[in-house]
Structure formats: C-alpha cells, structure tokens
C-alpha cells in the first residue's frame, strides 16, 4: 500500500432536505435533513478491490453516487486521481495537480464525459438495465458512440470484442447479434459488465451486482470481477449487504453504519477478527453454509435508526450490546488496530486481543 491512491474520499458529508408539508410550513417547523453521509473517509489504491458493506440506509449507495460525481457532496471531497470529482462534474476543475491541466479548458459536458470514461458503474438488475430492443453489439458499443472517441468502425468493433471476450462471452461474434432475451441471467450481467468496460475505465463501481442472481451464476460473476483485475488492471468498489460474497474476492472491507465507516481493514482480517461491535454482530448473523459451524448469533434489536435524528455520541450506541455511559456523549475517533485496520469504538482499547 505504498502507491499513490487512485481515490481519496475526504470527510464526505451528504445531506438531503426533507420536504415540508404545508402544515409544517404554517407551523413554522424547520426543514429537516437526512444525513445520508456523515463524515466518510477512506482511500483506495490502484487495482485494489474494496468492499463497501452495510445494511439499507447505511449510505453505501450514496457513496457510490458521490464517487462518480452523480451527486455533489454537502461537504468534503472526492479526489479521483488527484482531481476533485464534484468540481470536475460541475465544470470547475480545481487544480490539485501541479501539472498544467488541459481538462480545465474543456466545456462542462466534455469534462463530465472525461470523468465517466475513467469511472463506470455496474447496476444491480441485469434484467432491467439492458434495452430489450437493442442487440448486444448496440448495447456495448453505445458508450463509444456517446463519448465520440474518434474511433473508426473497425476500432470500435475491436473494443467491443475485447470487452465481451474479457467478460467471458467468447467468441464475441457468437453473441453480439443477439438480443438480451436470448441470453441467460449470467450472460446478461456479463453484457452489463462489458458495457462498463468498453471505455476502458480505471475504476468500476459495482452496486450489488449479484444480489438478483442464482447461486451458481453469482459465483460466475464474482469470479469474472476478480479476473478483471488481472486482465484490465482495474480498481473495483463492490457495494453489498452480503458479507459472504464480499469475503470471497475483495482485498479490503469498509463497514458502514448510518452514514459513516465504522471499521475498515483487510477483508479476511475484518471477517475473522472484527473489532467494532457492529461488525461483530453483522459477522455473527451472516449465515454459514454448514450446520457444524453455526455460531452464536448476536442479534441487534430494531433496525437502523432514522438518519434524520442521528443518535448523540456514538451513532451505534442505542443498539450496541456493550455500550457504556460515555458512548452516549462521545463520538468515537478511529482507533488503529494495526497499520491497515481501524475501527471507531470507544471500548476498543478494552477489547481483549484474542
């Protein structure tokens, strides 16, 4: 982990105002705010695979949106290869690079496209994210047309072929004249991945890419994502609520709770030796496919609290099984467990090293 990070997320906040009803306005109630992200920081190394895990409402999807410049953060920055994504996608490129930046001369649309070429997203549902009236070739070539890279027909075909074949749809000619309904679920998701790869991005954000798929197809797609690092040297952020799939192929894992990363570290270490009580609970309830390995479940009562009124002190204290009085007052800082593994919990120093 000595190389320069490709992605720096620096104290990111994202708030969404809640619409007031007429009655609320007449009563003079203040506008409420949903704290979707509340101080998220992490870095990603080039060609690393990072898992972003958490329950619904933890903010993992909002992080993805902000990484791609699809939303503008309320506070904080996302630096992609040294450049501020929000400013980039809004057409005011900040010069964090010392080198002269020709991108700042481009129009806003061109800047956004320049960002998109380098950072792509894979969506959840392969059945709904493909146009049923386009052939596979039309679907995969479309990003090249939009970005107007000045490629001739043969070059485009070459790019589409490489993307499809890297995604296991080989030979490409076999597939590209077909329509999505002629493909199986796993093949469709491969087409979705190929569409993201055709621009040869450096960063891929995969938002629950396998949650809709059957067990054996799921293994197929996860293995594909893992292989992309070798074939394309790509950085992947894998968002999921499923710890087991994340455990299979990611290098590091960031666990989110109520808009903040509560624990981050090497995946195997986080799963085998979770230190934050929330991570411990999540790991304990993840189903293990072997009755001999059943563990004592540490079930948290209730659900993730409403992100409009964040709890005082540690945001996890109302559900935490080991919380003490101080947890209600103090927002815990990160404690380094080792150079690569840290967690935000006041009790961490007292936890037995086992």
């Amino acid at each position: 982990m000595n190389s320069k990070p490709i992605l720096v997320v620096d104290d990111l906040y994202k708030q969404f105002p809640v619409n007031r009803t007429l009655v609320d306005r007449l009563k003079g109630k203040p506008t409420q705010v949903v704290h979707a992200l509340d101080g998220v920081s992490f870095e990603v190394e080039p060609s690393e695979i990072l898992a972003l895990v958490g329950e619904s409402g933890s903010g993992k999807t909002t992080v993805g949106m902000n990484l791609l410049g699809l939303q503008v953060p309320t506070r904080g920055r996302v630096l992609f290869d040294g450049r501020d994504v929000a400013a980039w996608s809004l057409g005011k490129l900040s010069r964090t690079d010392r080198a002269a930046d020709d991108l700042s001369q481009l129009s806003r649309r061109k800047q956004i496209l320049a960002l998109r070429r380098r950072a792509q997203m894979i969506f959840q549902d392969p059945y709904e994210s493909l146009n049923p009236r386009q052939t596979i070739y039309q679907i995969v070539v479309e990003p090249l047309e939009i970005h107007n890279l000045g490629l001739n027909a043969a070059e485009k075909e070459q790019r589409v072929r490489a993307a499809l074949e890297d995604c296991g749809l080989a030979p490409a000619e076999h597939f590209w004249d077909r329509y999505p309904d002629g493909l199986s679920g796993g093949q469709r998701q491969r087409v979705v991945v190929a569409g993201a790869l055709v621009l040869e991005p450096d960063l891929l954000i995969a938002d629950e890419p396998v949650s809709m798929l059957d067990v054996s197809i799921r293994a197929e797609i996860l293995t594909l994502l893992q292989s992309l690092r070798k074939t394309r040297d790509i950085t992947i952020i894998y968002t999921t609520h499923d710890l087991a799939t994340a455990g299979y192929f990611t290098d590091r894992m960031a666990v989110m709770y109520l808009g903040r990363v509560v624990e981050i570290g090497p995946t195997v270490e986080v799963l085998k030796n979770p230190r934050h009580p929330y991570t411990q609970a999540l790991v304990s309830v993840a189903p293990v496919p072997n009755p001999r390995k059943r563990r004592k479940r540490m079930i948290l009562q209730g659900e993730v609290p409403n992100p409009i009124d964040l709890p005082s002190g540690c945001r996890f204290h109302p559900r935490c099984p080991v919380a003490v009085e101080a947890c209600k007052q103090i927002d815990p800082p990160y404690i380094n467990i080792n150079a690569a593994h840290k967690a935000a919990c006041l009790l961490l120093e007292n936890v037995d090293e086992s």
């Binding site: 054996s216 799939t245 189903p287 072997n290 390995k293 079930i299 659900e303």
Partner: protein
C-alpha cells in the same frame, strides 16, 4: 411422527399450444412433525411448483398428473375442493414470497388478521377476533397495540412478522415459507430466522423453507431436499448434505456458495444452465453439466432412481456407490 408424506408427485404445465411441460417428476419426501425441511435449488428447478401443489393452489395451467400426498391418513390429492379448503390454512399454511409487500395499504394490520380469522370461522365475535389478532402479533414479537397501525408504519422486518402471524391464524401444523428472508437486510434476516426457529420449537410446527440461500438452510433446517430439473437430486439431514454430499450437483452447489467462515476461499460456478422444461435431457437431468458423468452412457440414457445409500440419505445418481 410423519406429518406429511409426498409420494411420486408429478406436475405438468400445459402451454397455450397444448404442450405439456414436466415441471416436477416423481418427487417423494416425508416431513416429520416439528422438524424443518429446506427445499433448495436454482430458479426453475420446480421448488415453487412443489409448494403450490402441497396447498393445491397451482395456477390454471398446472396439472398434478400423478402421486399421493398423505396427511392425517388421507390423500390430499383425492379429496374434494371443499375438503381441501378445510385443510388449507387450518393444517397447512403458507407465507408467500414477497407477501410482506402485498399487505393492504389502506387497512390496519389488525383488521387484516381479523379478516383471516373471521373468514375461517376461528372466532365467534369481532371482539374475540381482535383479542386473537393481538395474541398472534405478540407471538411473532410485535406489541399488540401496534396492530392499529397501517402497513406503511411497519418496517420491512415487522411486515414480514405480520405476514407470518397471519399464516399462523388458524393454528396450522405445517408452515411453508417461500424465500422468507430474501430481500431482507442481514440483521432482519437473522431476526426472522430466530423467530421461525422459536415458532417451530414452541408450537411444534413442521416448517418447509423454500429458498436458494444455502446459508439460511444450514442455519435453520433439520433436513434438506436438493432439487434439480423437477426431480430430487439428494435428500438427507443437514449435517450430511453440507458435510458429506454425494450427488455431484449438491457438491457443485456448495462450492459455488461463498462461506463467510472461510473468507478468501475459492468459488467455482457450475458451467452451463439448468435444463429448460421444453428441452429436458433424456437421461439424468444434470448430465449435461455434470463433471463426473464423462462418457458414462447410463447417465445419458436413463434417469437415475432415488436410492437410499445410508439410513435417511437418498441420492439419485448412477455414479454414487451403493446406488
């Protein structure tokens, strides 16, 4: 004590063109009172069809062409529609997949449970029905006072609990749950698993859990029935299925499922796709994807029978020793 015994069940769907598609073929299993059975398999393996057959609520195009379903000394496939109505919900109840999203949004949760109670004439008065609805909610871990609320005031986990409460309205002996934890967050999933385990224990319920999630099955099922292409591939207790699987399909399915207890271990997908109902292989249904069949001609030509290779361990494979 055996609660329900299914023998040689075959179900077909008749297409608009009049073609019969074999969705389930020669399926047999028995369900013990107070035990839980996991019905697992990929999409299209026939697990939902089996479950709908148990309740005799197959869609219009579905036909049960053969078999017996013995319950309380009667064959549920032979009795009249009015007789089956006395069994449906009262003895065998079901929680449908996604039922939590099918609650009526403009009626309170309590009134929806009361309706079920009155429909089945479980109670004499509306007052009794309300009282019973409150008890049912408490049984699934929801405070009775919240029955006055509407479904949108319930979280996802609570709606799933409410739907389970409704299925328990008539004190059934068998509860069938179709993907009861799919689409729920991992913590809520654990809460629902815990609830179903408690109900099984406290009410001596027989549970049938239909799912593709092997983790959920390993967590909560006593026995497992692995289905492939409308037939039983393997049937045994959970420990045997997960630690000593004999059918090549079961073995491959387990290798394709990530194990959180072994992070970083290899995953192997199963090449190919499950067979289409209009194009079933002539021999073993799994033969085209099987890594063991090789040039074995028997696998290609003949459907393997389900053989008991050890007490309680049934496998349908030509290549398994003892079969």
């Amino acid at each position: 004590m055996i609660s329900l015994e299914v023998k040689n069940l075959s179900v077909q769907y008749i297409t608009d063109a009049g073609v019969a598609l074999q969705a389930v073929e020669g399926l047999s299993f028995s369900l013990e009172q107070g035990r839980s059975l996991g019905l697992v398999g990929e999409s299209g393996c026939g697990k939902t069809t089996v479950m709908l057959s148990l309740m005799r609520i197959l869609p219009e195009a579905g036909r049960i062409v053969e078999g017996q379903m013995l319950f309380d000394g009667r064959d549920l496939l032979q009795i009249s529609e009015s007789d089956i109505q006395a069994v449906r919900w009262k003895d065998i109840a079901m929680v449908f997949q996604g039922a939590m999203n099918a609650l009526n949004p403009v009626r309170t949760v309590e009134s929806q449970i009361v309706e079920a109670l009155q429909l089945h004439k479980i109670v004499n008065s509306t007052k009794d029905a309300r009282k019973r609805a409150g008890e049912l909610l408490e049984l699934v871990g929801i405070s009775a006072s919240r029955g006055k609320q509407y479904p949108h005031q319930f979280s996802g986990g609570m709606r799933q609990r409410a739907v389970i409460a409704m299925a328990l309205a008539c004190n059934p002996r068998i509860l069938i749950a179709d993907e009861p934890t799919t689409a729920l967050d991992v913590m809520i999933q654990a809460q629902i698993i815990e609830l179903l385990e408690k109900l099984q224990r406290d009410l001596n319920l027989s549970l049938v859990i239909v799912t593709h999630d092997l983790g959920v099955v390993a967590e909560m099922c006593d026995d497992v029935l692995v289905m492939y292409g409308g037939t039983v591939a393997e049937h045994a207790d959970s420990d045997t299925i997960f630690n000593d699987p004999q059918h090549p399909y079961t073995q491959r399915l387990l290798k394709a499922f990530p194990d959180i207890a072994e992070p970083g271990s290899e995953l192997a997908s199963i090449a190919g796709n499950p067979p289409r109902l209009d194009d079933l292989p002539p021999g073993c249904r799994f033969e085209p994807r099987c890594h063991l069949s090789g040039s074995n001609s028997l696998c290609k030509s003949e459907h393997p029978p389900l053989i008991e290779i050890a007490p309680g361990h049934l496998v349908a494979c030509h290549l398994v020793k003892g079969a």
